[in-house]
Amino acid sequence: MSTEEAGSAHESGSAARPYVITAENLTKTYGDVTAVDGISFSVPAGESFGLLGPNGAGKSTTMKMIGGVAQRTSGSLTIMGLDPEQHGPEVRAHLGVVPQQDNLDEELRVRDNLLVYGRYFGLPISYLRPKADELLEFAQLTDKAKSKVDALSGGMKRRLTIARSLINEPRILLLDEPTTGLDPQARHILWDRLFRLKEQGVTLILTTHYMDEAEQLCDRLIVVDKGRIMAEGSPASLIRDYSTREVLELRFGSERNASVGAELEGIGERLETLPDRVLIYTHDGEAALEEVSARGLRPLTSLVRRSSLEDVFLRLTGRSLVD
């Protein structure tokens, strides 16, 4: 399969979109540790696909296998119809990769980082010079073109890494925790850039442990825990299937949260007791709160909110995403 096919299929509409990535029973073990435990998924061209899970769930390992830089232990995997272990350079030529840890060349200047990286794809300097300028503008780094990488902030480095990953105009972009460690403003700038790429039809594969990021960027995602897929679907459908419309959060103080559970029995559809708060899953949060008051319970604080992917994760694994 060539880029051309994937590209044209995308234009012809979602129904005919071919799969650009197919994984079946993908497994990776390091010694006795099973990092990825038989996961299967397929990603059609142009989709924005997320792997959501806590640290150590096997997301990065999966990304490395897709990126053709880590060997799988068993199972099958194809990227653009090619096995990354047989056709590493061909597969990697299709991809743009944003690793979890920035690995920019700190000894080169900002713009030179893009030029040098483009050379790895055999791209001519006559293409790379204007392309680098275009990408610097895209990443809002034009005025930093001649700076040393050292001098950039965390958010700028991240944007430069993303710009670098686009130098070969990839149709598939792998992003491993693209916004971890960034401040909210930097995250929003990044999300905006990624959304533009999505609009251009680039297939995005991203890992994250941020709910809001997954909700913002992903058309579809898999929830991964301990190397296995716990659930799969769009953010909205996951919430619909695994949670209720609203959640009532109550805090009674750390000592009382656990003991008050029995008194809340029967309110809402489901009750979840966490060390710092009690969650009541219900389709109507306000009504549930009235019921709590009617039973004579006086929480220190209460909050009614919409269900989120965090609740889905909690339901599926019994744990919060960010420990």
Binding site: E4, G67, A70, L95, Y117
Partner: protein
Amino acid sequence: MTEPSFADEVKERPTSVPPLRAHSPEVSAAKARRWGAFYYAEQVLRVMKGYGWSIFLYSVGQPAAYLFAMGVGLATLVDTGGAAAFGGVSYITFIAPALLISAAVMTAATEFTFPVMDGFKWRRVYFGPHASPLTPEQIAGGQIIAVTVRFFLQSAIYFVIVALFGASPSGWGWVSILVATLAGLAFGLPLMAYAATIKEDKGQFAMVMRFIVMPLFLFSGTFFPLDTLPVAVRWVGWISPIWHGTELGRVVSYGYEESPVLTIIHIAFLLGLAWLGWVLTKRQFARRMGQ
């Protein structure tokens, strides 16, 4: 090259400006398979250029200082003892090839250690190109090509200075530039393979410098012929790339007479060591980056 790409839909440019287009992934992969090591060498050389002046000054200053101290200063004492001990040539002529080879080996000891650690661990510079079409073997190869260029240039500068001191009487003296480059690789590539296995820096490279490079430098027939040493320590010279390189250097720079069999052994030893180092290095790079 001109396969239609998504670049068209990406950019809305004025029609007068032709749209920027990357060549297809297939072309990228084919080019990278063929030239990948050179692409990476280009990167390493660009980084080296950043501290080019210090490399240049080191390349000029070190030989000048050594040749002056040993070849001029020490030689006034040594040469009175008669040139016969050094095969009928002046002391400076005797040690110049040794210093040339030793300089390349010492450069190897820095270029094939810390940068490798930097690639895998400190700044993880190998992992950027690793995500591109380049293979681990090409990344190792590219670094070796770049360092080979440095060996060559540095040795050429060294040779010019030696020649200015009048210490390379033979017309074949320039061949010692190639010998020094080969000796640098013969010592450096096995060291690179070792450096690629190190996961944690516990001062191993300083130990290599103190307990391998320095003894080799002192006991490789550098400052006096190897056969003046007791037999018990002569083996240090026999396994030393500095000794094999130096003997070759002496043959080409002043017609030092040795059996042609020995000359072949020197060349074979240096080539063999470099080849072994390369095989181990690429295996270790592939192993460490494929996890």
